[in-house]
Symmetry: C2
Subunit: 386 residues, 2 copies
């Protein structure tokens, strides 16, 4: 097991009917900026619950944060924060709204000239403007971690940021929101969380037995609840486990003490940046090829995963490992998610070169747990996924 | 899954060679009270490492906190805190030293007349004197939670306390300390952590699939590493997983969203209070009888545990469940821990009545996940464990 530091100070408030607790969690002596997306929270009743809970607070609203939150949109919110002297933010939404809020948390206290530098220069945020969240879409785990992803469509860029100052002070997760989420987004959420676990698990044996068991526990639970979540999102048993899996998949606990990969995410981000394909679906496109390309490095953990998750006990390590990749692709497909780039676009010729160039431009020239995925190797992986 | 709140703000610093980080974690502008036990830290080199790391701090020492920390001993430390105007505490030890420090954290800011009231009246500590820990004995999980147990031998009492103000600010866990721990205490630590998991897991199915998987992951890992830890405590792979299991067994993550039992602990505490039997060993004595007595309520989870942990796939639920109790008793015995009261004392006749009286006196008249373990039922459980 590797040495690690683990610090997750977000207060998690989990369960049905808990949104009312906002009234005590959000400070009353600060002007609050309520941030949300395209208005689905007005249809599913969350908006009303939030406004009721905050009826004694001074609240200003900023809506319209899109999926893959846009830098230019966030700059408008930043202006509101500065003009209105906002002292606290409340993100009500999924990973995009929360990630956008994290960017704002950092940018509000950033002393440089151009807030884009936070992303471009990977500036670690040690102190941000405080905020809480109400999660409306389980998937990214952003509600209990300190990372964020922000896009800039004008330049086809999708960049990551983070730092210990970016944990939400609290997050309220009410699994009853799941019932109002479209099937497409439920499938995305499950695939996203599943892939988050794999990025932290599917490397090489590192004697972190407990972390492996926890990762496997999340994978097993996601496989177990996926059909119920898709079939009947009002099934509270399935919805609550789905929601908690998504949080635990990326709140640090399975990541600490182990090598991590994340090359699938870094490569897949380019598919969203160029084609606008849903984040989770880009992961499902890239992952099978990435694991096939890095088979020799990953085969031992792939075989362990085959045994423990899919009960594949027969065959050599290689046979088990290959079957594990197939089963993983099959799991994505069972969610209704296509796993080839050609399923999403006809215009993929030459795309691999663009990916290689973008990765080079962003300094991501050594991805993966062995830092041996160069832009050229990434391009091969992309070509394998056409 | 039940609604829950989860807040674990302790910064965990885990790994070999990390004690040096004390110099940055302990504030330099406060007078520090260094608390430890009987001096084993002077033999294993931890004391020297701590003192070296704190060479720029103002440090006063208080040693002699015993196993099952004594109220009267702690009162002496409290006097030091008040006389010396201590602003920060550093606990260097196992669960007893850390628990004692938690009591002091609460007592230092307590405004009542008699600090015993914190225990007797179960006063929840919202704000305590800040402290950090260096863990030298993996077992209780006290390094990353906000609970403590304090004893008063003059009255044969062992009482629990807690509150959100009692989380260590940080804990440093260096698994190399394991190599210097006597085998008896290693066995105790494994048994203690294992039982902590069972207290939070072995109740009834509550649709908390992920929590179940995490609990099972800790149990599986403890079973896997136990022989290596006992045989060769310098085996870092085993020691590090052992240490992390102990923390994760009681830092809140497997407890949230599920019913919990804790009756085994509450009854077993009386065995320590009366006979001075090691805490972990009292758990091993009481647990098999408690599960046998509450078999009907626990059989479904016992059967799940039989299947997932011991691969018992044949038989009825009842048969699997019975076998699970046997295997659990066998696991304790495999650690060299006796599982009957008569193995520890000849003087057990009539003891069950004393337990019933003590539980009554302390208001613990409805234990267990169904709150149906009255002092009379507890007495029966004790008699079954003679």
């Amino acid at each position: 097991m590797r040495n690690f530091e683990l610090y997750v100070p977000t207060k998690m408030i989990f369960g049905k009917g808990e949104i009312k607790k906002l009234s005590n969690e959000v400070p009353k002596d600060k002007k609050v900026l309520l941030l949300y997306g395209g208005g689905s929270i007005k249809k599913n009743g969350i908006y009303d619950q939030v406004k009721t809970a905050l009826k004694e607070h001074t609240v200003i609203e900023f809506s319209g944060i899109e999926a893959n939150p846009e830098f230019t949109t966030l700059l408008k919110a930043l202006e509101v924060i500065k003009n209105e002297n906002i002292g606290y933010m409340l993100a009500v939404g999924g990973g995009s709204v929360i990630d956008g809020t994290k960017f704002l948390s950092s940018a509000a206290l950033y002393e440089g000239n151009d807030p884009w530098d936070i992303l471009a220069n990977r500036i670690r945020t040690v102190k941000g403007l405080p905020f809480g969240t109400v999660l409306t879409l389980p998937a990214t785990g952003s509600e209990m971690n300190s990372g964020a992803v922000v896009s800039r469509s004008e330049t086809n860029e999708k960049m990551v940021m983070g730092g210990p100052g970016l944990f939400p002070e609290f997050s309220i997760c009410d699994p009853t929101v799941v019932h109002s989420i479209p099937k497409r987004q439920l499938a995305n959420g499950i695939a996203d969380a599943y892939t988050h676990v794999l990025e932290q698990y599917m490397t090489y044996p590192a004697d972190a037995y407990l972390q492996d068991r926890f990762s496997e526990g999340i994978l097993q639970t996601l496989i177990e609840i996926a059909p119920s979540v898709i079939k009947d999102p009002s099934d509270y048993k399935a919805a609550s486990n789905f929601m908690w899996c998504c949080t635990m998949a990326l709140n640090g606990y399975i990541q600490k003490g182990v090598p991590t990969d994340w090359s699938v995410h870094m490569i897949a981000h380019e598919l969203t940046a160029f084609y606008g394909i849903d984040h989770a679906r880009t992961l499902a496109v890239i992952l099978p090829s990435a694991y096939t390309k890095k088979f020799e490095h990953k085969k031992e953990k792939l075989a362990q995963y085959a045994e423990r998750i899919f009960n594949i006990t027969e065959g050599t390590i290689e046979e088990k490992a290959k079957e594990a990749i197939k089963r993983t692709e099959g799991f994505y497909q069972s969610l209704g998610i296509d796993t080839r780039l050609r399923d999403y676009t006809d215009d993929y010729e030459g795309f691999s070169k663009k990916v290689a160039k973008n990765l080079t431009d962003h300094g991501m020239t050594a991805l993966g747990e062995h830092q041996d995925i160069t832009p050229e190797v990434a391009a091969e992986i992309v070509e394998m996924s056409y």
